[in-house]
Amino acid sequence: MPIVKILSEFFGNEQARDLQWRLKHGGYEAARKAFREMQPDEVTQEVIKANLRGLGGAGFPTGRKWTFVPKDSDKPTYLAVNCDEAEPGTFKDRYIVEWDPHRLIEGIIICSYAVAIHTAYVYIRGEYVRPYERLQKAIDEAYEAGILGKNVLGNNFQLDVFTHRGAGAYICGEETGLLESLEGKKGWPRLKPPFPALVGAFGCPTVINNVETLSHLPKIIEKGGQWFADLGVERSGGTRLFALSGCVNKPGVYELPAGTPFRELIYEHGGGILDGKELKAIIPGGTSAAVLSADQVDLPMDFDTLAKVKSMAGSGAVIIMDEDVCMVKALHNIQNFFAHESCGQCTPCREGTSWVYRILSRIVEGKGSPSDVETLRGLNQNMSGTSICALCEGASMALGSFLEKFGDEFDYYAKYGRSYVEDARKGAVAV
């Protein structure tokens, strides 16, 4: 069966971000169809049927999320589009926004119609300058063409879309951190419940969806939820964009059905491991996901399977490590990120991520001691299940999985002050 391209249909096509060209190639037809033929609830039902999951990383069923928005609220409902793509290894949303921004805008329209939303905010990461420029241009074009604004596509339906640029904080991709930042505050995640569907932006009910999630909507409406669901696996429909990076020959964004095995992504699409080396480890869904060992390469890449092996499909960012990667240094790099990006609000994350990073720094500098590894294990336990948001949980998942699967490398580095992998390459492993 040929692989269906939904999101990546126009990737690489310089004309696709032009509204006029896009209109001639199916642009906004699905949105017109929704307005013309479907009641808002029917749109939601179609999305539920499609088994569309939140592709920002959490994998929450999208249609169900919409149903949590109260129907009888006297407040406006907002849509917050999460384009703060910052999970290390993730670079898929930018492809959508750079190459096919009108697909996202159409998705925004469909979601807004389904949930009766008249204001949408696209929270776009500050470093994404080109994506921002292209998206803003597309929004401006859509307004001019009457696709957005007072009468969306000529219907009696108003929708305004605003872009809001972040200032460079990973935590603002956490949905409630995003809302705080959107409101002009420090991006500190909120305590939950209440969830944003009840109390979100500016105290009003809010739907928060990832760029990729929303961009799937036009095709779901065009072809039907069942068609989409059938593309994927049970409880996770459609395709998704896998951002493949690391030690592979052809890194990049690949659109594959949910549930495709890692092996297919790496060897068929990614051209195999760089320089023909051995696969050592896979980070399956951004650095917050627990690392997998090479023998797990045949696992299917879907939310439920990876949750069962105590990792996660996350944002679809697949990072490949070959036999020459020192796992101590790799984790050091990862924990540097979490320590740097911890917002500082709650105790275990603020203190834990930074402590872990400093211990790893000491080990990497050759100043570790065997008890350091034990301390890392202890800190990992203490960071797990105690924080406000998932940042600390992600740091802990990475830390715990590296120690569990590659503990010997850490013991060796802490004891001898040298990398096991580097010593092995030189044939100088201490005994």
Binding site: K186, H340, T347, R350, W355, Q381, T386, I388
Partner: protein, 526 residues
Amino acid sequence: MPTLTIDGQEITVEAGIPVIEAAKRLGIYIPRYCYHPGLSLAGSCRMCLVEIENMPVLQISCYTRVQDEMKVVTDSEKVRVARRAMLEFLLSEHPLDCPVCDQSGECDLQNFYMEYGRYDSRFAENKVKKKKAFPIGPHVMLDQERCILCTRCVRFTEEVSKSNELGVLNRGSHSVIDLYDDKTLDNPYSGNVIDICPVGALTEREFRFQCRVWYLDTQESICNGCSRGCNISLHYNATARTYKAGGKRVMRVKPRYNPEVNQWWICDDGRFGYEFIDQNRIEFPYIRTDSDLEMSTWEEALQKASGAISGALETVGPEGVGIIVSPQLSNEDLLIVKRLFVEELGISNLALKNPWQKPGYEDDFLIKADRNPNTQGAEKIGFKGDAKAILEKAAEGKIKVLYIFWHGFEDDEAAELLGKADFVIFHGVNWNGSAEAADVVLPGVTHAEKDGTFTSFEGRIQRFNQALLPIEEARNDIEILLDLAGKLGYAIEISGEQAFEEWQGLTHEALGEHGTATTSEAPTEA
């Protein structure tokens, strides 16, 4: 109303309260840093984690609302391990400078460490350097290294003082509490951040290095700074007027919770306005010989005062004596004054207020323009009117003896009138214009040195208790008045509390923890 079980004990509470408060009602104190009942919830310190049945992970008890049939365990091994973990995290960057920290002895890092910590430190890294010990306002010092970022102070300035001086700057382990640009922590309620800071990050500049807290005794009192009647605790060093503290006995004032009056807070004027208790005090009786005031015995001073009063009563009658009471006196003091001078001696030249005293500023929170604690009580007992008419009569010679409580008549006009008076008895605590001009000076005591009650502007009668012995030769005001009565030939045998009971039909005890509203009797004419 939901019924839940906490540590095996069942309790029924109103819906919507957090588990941490429900536990408190069972006498279970769950450790916390960021939670404060008077502030919004932060949920960030993660110290108050508890186990709740059917929940996969520990929950913070400040944010988790009670639910019917909820089963909470606050002290399981799992909980203790988590609390120890949070302490270890919080203390990892803490400078551990307890030996030079004012908070030592009343620090929740110390307290909870002794209960949940007691581990050997695993932290072998360099600590993050932050700014240490710098003033952020007239009363408060900040030490960012001691700070555990609970954000109580930030929330206080946002929600209570509404002055927004403080915020959390930077990110992760570099986060600090600091002033926003161009701000200083200079609002009328700034001192409260010192109280709510659970660690030694925010300390009181006035109290810094003055005394170790374990040398302090505590007594429940009422602020005398205005008519609000904020509940306070006096923290004092009873045994010694310490050298370092410049002879101060009262070392600091802390607010005391009263939901009806001041909640958890007091203003800075009240907090730092206690110096009159130990400074500029009239420590001995004085009598005027020739033109100078000279220290005397109580016998001499009371003899001279009673002689003057008797003389005036004989030559002019009750019209020849004027009494200016003070709204700083307690209800009990005023009841005895009324008994002696009004009921026994029949004096009707009475006044309460100093018309030259400028009213203070007032806000919509705690601070009242009337800077006296007991104007309402004095009026209900029957004293009113301002002192000007009495002073004029004294200056004209119609009043031969003027008995002035507390008021310092220092305005030019007042001082001139006072200067023309024949004979002035001053009864008060601090040296002022009236005392300097008096013929007899009787040293009374402050509210820190006696028991009594004040009636707040809204009619709430509240008790204050004696913390200190009267300074030097000063005496309890009621004792002075009763002695004076004896010298005038009236053997009055009544205590302040008895007088209060006769007046209100209530014992002091019956006023309860938070005071009670006055009986609705109309003010009686004196």
